[in-house]
């Protein structure tokens, strides 16, 4: 691994971490689409900033472009407040307008500079190590590293200071406002940080990947944890993982780095979506299947509870009497046996004491809907877990 390769991976990882933090809050606030809007409309700010500063990494350009991001959010809100269009429509109206102005300005005035549409959409991570910072003749490393490093530090500092405020305004804006933490202030703070991050990351990874870096890691982390801090850490981890794997994928396939990183992000999310222990697709399907079986188990136990006659309790009559297929009847009886709820003697099924207790408990729950009654059996039965 040469130093340019290392530098690219470092830039990609820092970009990924910087994007993951505001991304978590955008996902939790159901504002994922806003990152898409900002990432496009800041083009206008970048172009205008570039005309003024003639330098793509100037802090002034980043601020100007970030302002366009915040302006996008304000415009969307203004249009939405009129009540004439819905929020998603408003987003769809605002950002293409700003983006297209940016595109026209580039085509008219900046054709012969580094700024071009391809770079805007896909970024040029591979070239990032060539644009270096020199301090008194000394090589200070790639500029992008410094820019994104500063943005990451700023984001981390703000997160550290205002974690509690971000949390309460995101979870319960009403309470936050009553407590004196202005939800509006936090909203625009988050929008500003998102905009600055997107602008900084834009040059390295482009308008599309920056959205993926914000949303995909947060969406994956959301499925894995019930803790906000852990969700942020996981998102950052997923971002870095995808950045590094994506880089090497691109290296071996000789493909676009940004494209490979996005693909890896997609794969990471898809894997989590399938295999997350509690909220993953497979876990959910398994739980639903278990719940179905348990419903049958309870109706079977209720049947035994209601009928003491031998013929009603005979295994062979099970199918006819409660009208079940053989497979289902067997799986239900097996489940009852496994939990020591019934005994079988000469093909006669009898409720055990445990089975009787369980049945009356389940019955009571069904009738009263009182959760405290069944709290201790929740662990063993999916059915009672909401």
């Amino acid at each position: 691994m040469n130093s340019a390769q290392l530098e690219i991976q470092m830039i990609a990882s820092i970009v990924a971490m910087a994007c993951a933090i505001p991304g978590v809050f955008l996902v939790l606030r159901r504002m994922a689409l806003v990152s898409d809007a900002i990432s496009h409309s800041i083009l206008l700010g970048i172009v205008i900033g570039f005309f003024i500063t003639q330098n793509l990494q100037s802090p002034l350009l980043i601020l100007l472009a970030a302002l366009t991001g915040v302006l996008t959010v304000i415009l969307v809100e203004v249009i939405q407040k009129t009540g004439l269009v819905k929020e998603d429509t408003a987003i769809g109206l605002v950002f293409p307008a700003l983006f297209s102005i940016g595109v026209i300005l580039i085509a008219k005035n900046a054709n012969d500079v580094h700024l071009d549409i391809d770079a805007v959409l896909l970024g040029e991570l591979a070239f990032a190590p060539f644009d270096r910072l020199t301090l008194g003749g000394m090589d200070g490393g790639p500029k992008a590293l410094w820019v994104m490093g500063s943005i990451l530090l700023l984001t981390l500092l703000l997160l550290f200071l205002f974690f509690k405020e971000l949390k309460v305004t995101t979870f319960d804006a009403g309470l936050a406002s009553a407590l004196g933490f202005s939800p509006l202030l936090m909203h625009y703070g988050l929008m500003s940080v998102s905009s600055i991050t997107i602008v900084g990351a834009f040059d390295a990874v482009g308008a599309i990947l920056v959205v993926a870096l914000m949303i995909a890691p947060a969406a994956a982390a959301y499925l894995l944890t019930n803790d906000l801090k852990r969700m942020i850490l996981l998102s950052m981890g997923f971002g870095v993982l995808s950045a590094v794997i994506g880089y090497w994928t691109a290296h071996f396939l000789d493909a676009s780095i940004a494209g490979s990183m996005t693909s890896v992000l997609g794969l990471v999310f898809f894997t989590v979506y399938l295999f997350a222990p509690d909220k993953g697709l497979i876990a959910v399907l398994y739980r639903q299947k278990q719940q179905r079986t348990e419903v049958y188990l309870i109706s079977f136990l209720l049947h035994l509870n209601n009928h003491s006659e031998e013929e009603e309790r005979h295994l062979n009559h099970l199918q006819e009497h409660i009208n079940w297929h053989q497979v289902r009847a067997k799986s239900v009886v097996d489940l009852a046996l496994k939990n020591n709820m019934v005994t079988i003697e000469n093909k006669l099924v009898t409720l055990t004491e445990k089975g009787r207790d369980f049945t009356s408990l389940a019955l009571e729950y069904i009738l009263t809907n009182r959760e405290d009654k069944i709290e201790h059996i929740k662990k063993d039965f999916f059915l009672f877990r909401g």
Partner: protein, 246 residues
């Protein structure tokens, strides 16, 4: 009961959403130490009344004071339980964490909750019978349990006035009794409680003060004086005699 001090004073309050008036020229005086129900039909502005007292909604006219000072200066004296449906219960957080949010007001900006706040949160959870569920993710709680967590969060605010927006909505009978007992206990210690309430039948049983609202204020005062068919009819627009005595 010392009824001489005024806990909440609302003068000429008017609130409009998109130029449509939701509350018209409301005057209200709530004496300290009462347990007051705010009743009125759907869309009558009951929640808005609470929210504008708490500064969450900006009125277009009028003023509000808490113990004769603006709300902004009295935040720490006030606790608020929003409607359960107003938050996202899938938010990645635990019951204990939600209760801890009640301490944020006293902490102010930047400062984080420490041991003292955590201890207070656990005590509040204990009071509402939710201590065994402290580490449970909030979506894994039943509707009644979620409402208890919200109540615990208000308790931890350790306020003088408690505002609650339909705390009995979607909760089971046990939780309703548990909540009302806690509220009555709060009142015994001299706290003022202001509750948006839906179930007219339980008003005389739960509350000692009542305010009728339907865009305008219809009546306010002790339950025994103003909770009558006349005011119910004025508020709900139909004869309520039958409904209440049923």
């Amino acid at each position: 009961m010392k009824e001489n001090k005024i806990a909440i004073r609302v003068d000429d309050l008017t609130v409009a959403y998109n130029y449509k008036p939701v509350l018209w020229d409301i005057d209200l005086k709530v004496p300290e130490g009462v347990m007051m129900a705010i009743v009125g039909p759907n869309g009558a502005g009951k929640s808005t009344l609470i929210k504008s007292i708490l500064g969450i909604v900006k009125p277009i006219a009028g003023s509000v004071s808490v113990f004769e000072k603006p709300y902004k200066k009295q935040r720490k004296l006030v606790a608020y339980v929003p409607q359960k449906g107003s938050v996202d219960w899938d938010f990645p957080t635990t019951a204990k964490d939600v209760v801890l949010m009640g301490t944020y007001g006293h902490l102010g900006w930047v400062k984080r909750p420490g041991l003292k706040e955590k201890k207070a949160a656990l005590e509040a959870l204990e009071k509402v019978g939710m201590l065994p569920f402290k580490d449970r993710q909030i979506s894994q709680l039943s509707g009644g349990q979620q409402q208890r967590v919200f109540l615990a969060r208000a308790l931890v605010q350790d306020a003088s006035i408690y505002f609650m927006d339909e705390p009995f909505q979607g909760v089971d009978a046990t939780t309703e009794i548990a909540i009302i007992n806690i509220l009555k206990e709060l009142r015994k210690t001299g706290k003022t409680l202001i509750v948006v309430h839906h179930d007219l039948q339980t008003v005389p049983e739960y509350f000692d003060w009542v305010t009728f609202v339907n865009v305008k204020k219809i009546a306010t005062g002790p339950v025994k004086d103003v909770f009558n068919d006349d005011n119910l009819t004025k508020t709900y627009g139909i004869n309520y005699k039958v409904a209440v005595n049923k």
